[in-house]
Symmetry: none
Subunit: 226 residues, 2 copies
DNA sequence: ACTCTTTTGACATGGTCATGACAATCGCGG
DNA sequence: CCGCGATTGTCATGACCATGTCAAAAGAGT
């Protein structure tokens, strides 16, 4: 079981991240301030630490530096609100392994976590190619064909598609999609999701009005079937 | 699969190098101090070792000398912060195969790694000549022609082109280009990339406003197609 | 100092996405 | 089996954001 320490003072974000990680079967520990985080990290060995920069008590910067100073080399993924913040920190040779600027979708967060963990050891590689029915998708090349015919997806459509594929056979709610693909701090209406479904169906389904792959789970969400 | 051992105590640099190498499909092992590095090198046979001179525990100099002393002839590429440092070391007949002074771009690092490996025998030769559509490029001679007509690319344009060619068919993000071609310690705005795309298109595309080879992947990056 | 290259900034343009209206469909209870 | 409310399908619209493009500033090399 992979253990993750999430350090984040914004409860909403903390909860969101935790839920997403638990959904992916990570074991999650939480800290809401720098001092607690340090204590926890020194006591327990986590596989990775997700660390917000802006924290009460001690900043994430402090936490990071003190951990490294005490010889702790747990991989750290920094969350910051602005690009510039991290640039500054990077200049200070903080010793973090990666960083993300808010807002971010959970998909990206998970991808980065997996990338970091993969560096340290063994973990499954990223999804590059996938096919179902008459459709072929190559995420690396951002190319899609249906029955051999190339078709165009937008960046976000690729992301939604990827999410569906990674959760093949599961019912995913609109909220889940919004959180995971769009990110916590953006609040489009659920109508937006429907529209992406619509446009995806038009593109990948043979008969868009009788979808076979992206099916509706009424009053719950959608389900992708290979 | 080519294996590389990177020995570097600055995490940011270590991470940068690791990512670049992994992006180029090398298998990367990491060490952050001289002692660990020695152990790893004696236990496993790597195709090449990237070795920072300034290390905690044992200096890169020590590591290099001890390896050679014990009969290990794995190619070594030295990284040093200053020209003088290496000059000193070179006088000591250290037995390294090449060296670079920081800061350096990833392109240069990769070029040197490939050069060293090629000497040893195993690795595809460098990209010397390449053609697509009406365009011929000779990287060694730094010459380009389109429909037989010679045209001039700047040094950086050559590098961007080379990166595109080496990643033909893949979508590459602006960030990726900045990291890989410009090097991880420079932070030009992303506008810079666009302008290089613009100027490359003007030069190599028959109809620059309808690019066939350097295509746009909206909100993601660009893609080179042969 | 001059020239060529690279970077930056400004503006125009086009694509993408979010929203709301309305129609169609579903599920549930009668 | 029918009807009603709730949910989803569908489309048109406008705002916004990413990119195309150019010009000028900054930097590098000679």
């Amino acid at each position: 079981m992979t253990t993750v320490l999430v350090v984040e003072d914004d409860r909403a974000v903390l909860r969101g991240i935790t839920e997403s990680l638990e959904l992916e079967h990570f074991e999650v520990a939480q800290a809401e301030d720098g001092i607690t985080a340090l204590e926890m990290a020194q006591e327990t060995r986590y596989d990775i630490i997700i660390l917000d920069l802006l924290l009460p008590g001690k900043t994430g910067e402090d936490v990071c530096r003190e951990l490294r100073g005490s010889g702790n080399d747990t991989p750290i993924l920094i969350l910051s609100n602005k690009q510039e913040e991290f640039d500054k920190v990077l200049g200070l040779e903080l010793g973090a392994d990666d960083y993300m600027t808010k807002p971010f979708g959970t998909r990206e967060l998970l991808a980065r976590i997996r990338a970091i963990l993969r560096r340290g050891g063994a973990l499954t590689p990223d999804l590059v190619e996938y096919s179902f029915g008459e459709v072929w998708i190559n995420f690396k090349k951002q190319e899609v064909t249906r029955s051999g015919e190339p078709l165009k997806l937008t960046a976000k459509e690729f992301e939604v598609m990827r999410y569906f594929i990674e959760h093949e056979g599961e019912v995913v709610s609109r909220k889940q999609l919004l959180d995971e693909v769009w990110g916590y701090e953006t609040f489009p209406t659920t109508r937006t999701v429907d529209n992406f479904i619509l446009s995806l169906r038009k593109k990948i389904e043979g008969d868009p009005s009788n979808p076979r792959h992206i099916t509706t789970a009424h009053s719950v969400g959608y389900k992708f079937i290979k």
